[in-house]
């Protein structure tokens, strides 16, 4: 085995180590985070005098773009009949989720709050029907519908029979300026 060949193998391995293993990061150790959905997360964007702006939730980072969470969320999206109203994100009885319009906020914590609390124009409240972890997983999946998660974190195929193109082909939609903190 020549030195050059060994070097290129080493280089290849290094590239693989740097790029290939970053699909998701799990926290196996560290302080556990309380699994509480931020009920106070506001869909609003106006806070008089810039006072009382709620801080972004630390749990968001755990689920955002996490392949395991997204995959679980995808399963729940069908199981909990989200797909019955929002379909594969195009909307129907419920609003479209693949576009760049967010009535009640497009950040992951805002989506999680919407799932738990419901919203007055027809979105039911799923409080008590899902664990809080499941709510975050669902919210993580909903974010992928408008292409907000990295392509290598989302599943290339649906769990069920589907008439739609794969998720990995979704174009990333811009979020509205109000949600830009999380972009």
């Amino acid at each position: 085995m020549s030195l050059r060949f060994r070097n290129s193998l080493l280089a290849l391995g290094l590239v693989a180590a740097l790029t290939g293993c970053d699909r998701e990061q799990r926290q196996t150790r560290g302080k556990p985070l309380a699994e509480t959905v931020p009920a106070s997360t506001s869909p609003d964007t106006v806070f008089p005098g810039n006072a009382n702006v709620p801080p972004s939730d630390p749990r968001a980072a755990v689920y955002e773009g996490n392949a395991t969470a997204i995959s679980e969320g995808q399963r729940l999206y069908n199981w909990m009949n989200c797909s019955g109203c929002h379909f594969h994100g195009g909307g129907g009885m419920g609003v479209a989720l693949i576009d760049d319009k967010w009535r009640y906020g497009g950040r992951i914590d805002q989506i999680a709050a919407t799932i738990v609390e419901g919203r007055p124009n027809g979105m039911p409240s799923f409080r008590g029907r899902l664990t809080e972890q499941q709510v975050w997983q669902l919210a993580a999946y909903v974010r992928t519908l408008s292409g907000q998660a990295r392509k290598d974190a989302v599943s290339a195929r649906a769990d069920e029979v589907s008439n739609t193109p794969p998720q990995t082909q979704t174009k990333r939609e811009p979020l509205t300026p109000a949600d830009s903190a999380e972009q």
Partner: protein, 619 residues
């Protein structure tokens, strides 16, 4: 010379005889439509049931115009000769942008406009210039109801009777309003949005009863038709579309015409265990009434979920037609248009009551039904027996109707299977024709059917029942059927059992039709055109582009000045128009139960709206 003359004369004579024979044979071989159409009322023509279609007084008091549901106006000032001069008399904006399906009603020089959610009613004074509002009624139904309305928060209209307006609110209430003052007289809660029930249909009032039904066939609800006392709003009876005979009001008077609809408690036995409790069969369409037989006729919606593998059996009494005694609700007969429905083929379409010319010269009390499954049924309305059933468009999901058993024959290769996608099923879930009713003209003897030409790919998956959320289990993608046109306007001769003419419309046809004694037929398109065609030839004579797509019903009335007016709601929405009214993203072909894929171009062709347009000839 002389001999050749004889030969020529002989040849001419032979030719003449041959021509004569040919001509007589043509006369005898079935209907010659060119002569028949211009013949005027004759003995071999279908006419509306007499007691259900009284002489026209120039008002428009109920969506179907009369109990026979003809949607025919006897006013004849507007004719093919002068319709080209039709112009806008006034307009009225409801301030809503949801699907606008309800026809305006006109009674004693007042026009009543019923808006989609929030279901406001406006009374317009037709005696004053510009028709200013006399009063506005704001019922304030719950906003949350919009989240369980499968196909837009629509309303299909009010019913005027005896100084009162009766209508349903989206959140499950029926109300009576004083037509003079706009004050609410009573409000009765009948449906529960937390179970996924809404109310969108137009009531029918007969014999002091207000007949109303629920919507929510995609939400795992249990369908019913209820009768309320018109005076007090108290519940008189409620007939469920599933469950034991006592719930379905099936008793000693019940005589079904075909064996598969006979038997005890079929509303339980024709389902898997307990499934009838969430099995659909909602009553969200049209009711007709025969004052002689004292019977009402109405259809029941699809069984739930759409995934038929999850509900083995015929799924009685969904997707069929009931005849019931109006005062007790007791069923007289039932016929199931789609036993064990595979494709969301509700049987809620309009029923037009007619007197049918029997071969022996007698008249049979019959009904005409352009059904969602694609067949035009003619049935004896005394007992439900089918006189004929013919396809009025392209069908490959069924092979025909068996007249011995009354059952539609499914095409086995189009049966959806869990976990796979079955392609090219025609007609798709909205059927050959959805809710938007036909009009019947006694002048031409023709039925005018506004309908669609849409097929689908259907993937079946397991549906989970969570109360108040969808219970469908299907991944659907719709598209135009053969020919590429998504809408069709068909004029049908019910006696000859054939099309007289058809107009291909690019967009799905979602507006009802109106026929007038002037020989005209009106209908609207989803990109906003109100069209007037010649009722005999189908020739387009006049059209006007309104502000939004038309899915509402045109009507005709006599104004205080004695002139004939035509009014039409303009405001796109409903299932077909949800892509515009509900801001659906067309990149998802399955959106709006798969309809989005068939109306991808609609956003470029119209925008939301909610305006009534009223037309008249210049003075």
């Amino acid at each position: 010379m002389r001999r050749s003359t004889v030969a020529i004369v002989a040849v001419i004579a032979v030719l003449l005889v041959a021509a004569l024979l040919f001509w007589t044979s043509r006369q005898n071989s079935g209907p010659d439509l060119s002569t028949k159409q211009f013949a005027g009322p004759s003995s071999n023509k279908v006419i509306p049931a007499r007691s259900a279609s009284p002489p026209d007084d120039g008002n428009w008091t109920m969506p179907g115009k009369d109990y026979a549901s003809t949607r025919f106006s006897a006013l004849n000032q507007v004719t093919p000769a002068n319709v080209g001069k039709l112009q806008v008399a006034f307009t009225f904006s409801t301030g809503t942008t949801e699907g606008f399906e309800a026809p305006p009603l006109v009674v004693n020089n007042t026009m009543y406009v019923v808006a989609p959610w929030p279901n406001n009613v406006f009374a317009l004074d037709l005696t004053k210039p510009g028709a200013p509002a006399k009063w506005t009624y704001e019922p304030k139904p719950a906003a949350a109801a919009k989240g369980v309305a499968c196909c837009g928060p629509v309303n299909r209209g009010a019913f005027y009777s005896n100084g009162r307006l009766f209508m349903n609110l989206l959140d499950g209430h029926t109300v009576a309003i004083d037509a003079e003052s706009g004050k609410e007289i009573w409000r009765t809660k009948l449906a529960d949005i937390n179970k996924g029930e809404t109310m969108t249909m137009a009531p029918l009032v007969a014999e002091g009863k207000v007949l109303v039904g629920n919507s929510g066939g995609e939400m795992g609800v249990r369908g019913w038709l209820a009768a309320l006392d018109a005076g007090s709003g108290k519940l008189a009876w409620r007939a469920y579309s599933t469950g034991p005979d006592k719930d379905a009001l099936i008793g000693s008077q019940y005589r079904a015409p075909y064996p598969s609809d006979q038997g005890k408690d079929l509303g339980v036995k024709s389902w898997g265990p307990e499934q009838w409790k969430i099995g659909g069969g909602t009553v969200w369409g049209w009711i007709s009434y025969d004052p002689d037989l004292k019977l009402i006729y109405y259809g029941t919606g699809n069984p739930g979920p759409w995934n038929a593998e999850q509900r083995p059996g015929d799924n009685k009494w969904t997707a069929g037609l009931f005849a019931r005694d109006v005062s007790t609700g007791q069923a007289r007969w039932f016929h199931q248009g789609a036993p064990h429905d595979l494709f969301d083929h509700d049987d809620i379409n309009e029923t037009i009551l007619v007197d049918w010319p029997a071969p022996n010269g007698q008249r049979i009390p019959a009904l005409l039904r352009p059904s969602r499954n694609g067949y035009l049924y003619v049935q004896d309305r005394r007992n439900g027996r089918i006189l004929s059933a013919d396809p009025y468009g392209y069908i490959n999901a069924y092979k025909g109707v068996d007249l011995k058993t009354g059952r539609v024959i499914p095409a086995t290769d189009k049966e959806p299977k869990t976990g796979r996608v079955v392609r090219n099923i025609c007609p798709g879930p909205p059927g050959m024709k959805d809710w938007n009713p036909s009009a019947f003209s006694p002048v031409t003897g023709l039925l005018y059917i506004p309908h669609i030409n849409i097929c689908m790919d259907m993937g079946a998956k397991n549906a989970n029942y969570i109360p108040g959320t969808p219970f469908v289990g299907a991944d659907v993608k719709m598209y135009a059927g053969p020919g590429g046109n998504r809408g069709v306007f068909t004029a049908w001769d019910p006696v000859a059992r054939r099309k007289v003419f058809e107009i291909k419309e690019d967009l799905p046809l979602w507006s009802p039709a109106l026929a007038t004694a002037g020989g005209l037929v009106f209908y609207g398109t989803m990109d906003g055109w109100l069209k007037a065609i010649d009722g005999r030839s189908g020739k387009l004579l006049w059209q006007f582009k309104t502000g939004s797509g038309i899915i509402g019903q045109p009507i005709s009335y006599r104004g205080p000045d004695g002139r004939q007016y035509i009014a039409v709601p303009s405001g796109v929405g409903g299932w077909a128009g949800a892509i515009v009214s509900a801001d659906i993203d067309e990149r998802d072909p399955t959106a709006a139960l798969g309809f989005a894929n068939a109306t991808k171009d609609l956003k470029k062709r119209t925008t939301k709206g909610g305006t009534v347009y009223v037309f008249a000839l210049p003075q």
